[in-house]
């Protein structure tokens, strides 16, 4: 839990410093912050939702992206060493937020047609609805938040387990067994290092995927028909 608060504090501090004095001609730090915010704004929100809807849902997408990113990154910071997202609370909360958001977006767009479009896709002969409707119901309203939660959670848990495994093995080989086993220790240390770098990639990727999928769900809900 404390890890999460540290991540939140770091996030708020970084962005507060970055956006405190916005200038037209950006300095180095402001450019960096802008790059981050622009990534969420352009690549996720505006690409999928367009300018208008993108602006509406930008705060929630930005929040999801950076919250996941920062909490993922705590997994490889020495002293914290566990991702804030590797305990089910955060992924679940974010998945619920995403779920509520896309249902809200759909209902707001067309109160009557949203559930009809989601459950009874147009252009399908009616007997097929017997099969399609349960599938749509399950995939849209049950599977989506579950997959969102589990994808992020499992990625982070597995990453954490791998790192724990490698580093404890290194410790074990080098200091407990010693002798020739030190070579194994060097090997596991190297793998641990590689997977630490890999975890950085996964952290960014999972943050991106989470925000992107939320955007996609919103887009599907907002789209008139498909």
């Amino acid at each position: 839990m404390i890890v999460r608060f540290i991540a939140v504090a770091a996030l708020l501090l970084l962005f507060w410093l970055g956006t405190r004095k916005m200038r037209l001609v950006p300095g180095r730090y402001q450019s960096l912050i802008e790059m981050g915010l622009d990534f969420a704004r352009v690549n996720i929100a505006e690409d999928l939702l367009g300018k208008k809807d993108g602006k509406r849902f930008l705060p929630i997408l930005t929040t999801i992206f950076f919250m996941v990113l920062f909490m993922n990154l705590t997994g490889i910071i020495p002293g914290l060493n566990i991702a804030g997202t590797s305990v089910i609370g955060v992924p679940l909360v974010l998945a619920i937020v995403s779920y509520v958001t896309f249902i809200y977006a759909g209902i707001k767009k067309s109160p009557k047609n949203f559930f009809k479009n989601a459950l009874f896709p147009t252009g399908v002969p009616w007997p097929v609805y017997i099969i399609v409707t349960p599938i749509e119901l399950i995939s849209t309203f049950i599977i989506r938040p579950v997959t969102l939660t589990l994808r992020l959670l499992m990625n982070m848990i597995v990453g954490h387990l791998l790192l724990v495994l490698f580093f404890s093995a290194t410790q074990f080989f080098i200091f407990t067994l010693g002798g020739w086993y030190t070579l194994f220790g060097v090997g596991t240390l190297a793998f641990g290092f590689v997977f630490t770098l890999f975890e950085v990639l996964v952290a960014v990727l999972q943050a991106y995927v989470f925000a992107l999928l939320t955007a996609v769900y919103i887009q599907l809900a907002v789209a008139e028909e498909h």
Binding site: M1, I2, V3, R4, F5, A7, V8, L11, L12, F15, W16, G18, T19, M22, R23, L24, E34, L37, R41, L58, P59, I60, T62, T63, F66, M67, G79, L80, N81, I82, G84, S86, V87, I88, G89, V90, L92, V93, L94, V97, L153, I157, H160, L161
Partner: protein, 186 residues
């Protein structure tokens, strides 16, 4: 702190991670709401405002540059026009000057010739007058001389002036008439 973290972590790993503890959900939600409000109310509006301002600034600069360009073009056009005008004017002035010069030369020539004519005329008049006076004085002198000579020849004074002078005058008149006749015959 680390102990608590590890405990939470191991709990997530070893027990079923699909059964969340209520506090987990609760504090995650708190984190989420804090971050959401931060981005929603603070960071993103600031970013948006800055982007708008930057866009406006860029547009303004482009407009300014366009304006400057237009002004420069207008100035250039004006200068060109003025230059052409100046050239035409210079040509006109040259032409006028040439005309004036011609006129002045012609006038001067005319004046000079008039002056020459006048001088010639006055000189001729003077010469004529001098000639006349010379003739008159010559005539009287010649008369006196002739009389003196004659008186010397005849040995007696021809003091009867009136008679003498009339003789001389007649003689001279005859002489003149002869001369005139000779000139006419010639």
């Amino acid at each position: 702190m680390l102990h608590a973290v590890l405990k939470a972590a191991t709990e997530g790993e070893t027990t079923n991670p699909l059964l969340p503890a209520p506090y987990d959900i609760w504090w995650s939600a708190v984190c989420f709401v804090i971050i959401l409000f931060f981005f929603w109310r603070y960071a993103l509006p600031k970013m948006q405002q800055m982007l708008d301002e930057r866009g406006a600034a860029i547009e303004g600069n482009i407009e300014k540059a366009d304006e400057a360009q237009r002004q420069a073009e207008a100035a250039l056009e004006q200068y060109t026009a003025q230059l052409a005008e100046a050239r035409v004017e210079a040509g006109k002035i040259r032409e006028t000057a040439r005309e004036d010069g011609k006129q002045i030369v012609a006038e001067a020539r005319e004046n000079a010739s008039a002056e020459a004519t006048r001088i010639t005329v006055s000189a001729q008049a003077q010469i004529e007058a001098e000639r006349q006076s010379a003739i008159v004085s010559l005539r009287s002198e010649v008369g006196t001389l002739a009389l003196d000579l004659a008186s010397g020849v005849i040995g007696e004074s021809l003091k009867d002036d009136a008679k003498a002078s009339s003789v001389v005058d007649r003689f001279l008149a005859d002489l003149e008439a002869d001369q005139a006749k000779a000139a006419g015959a010639k």
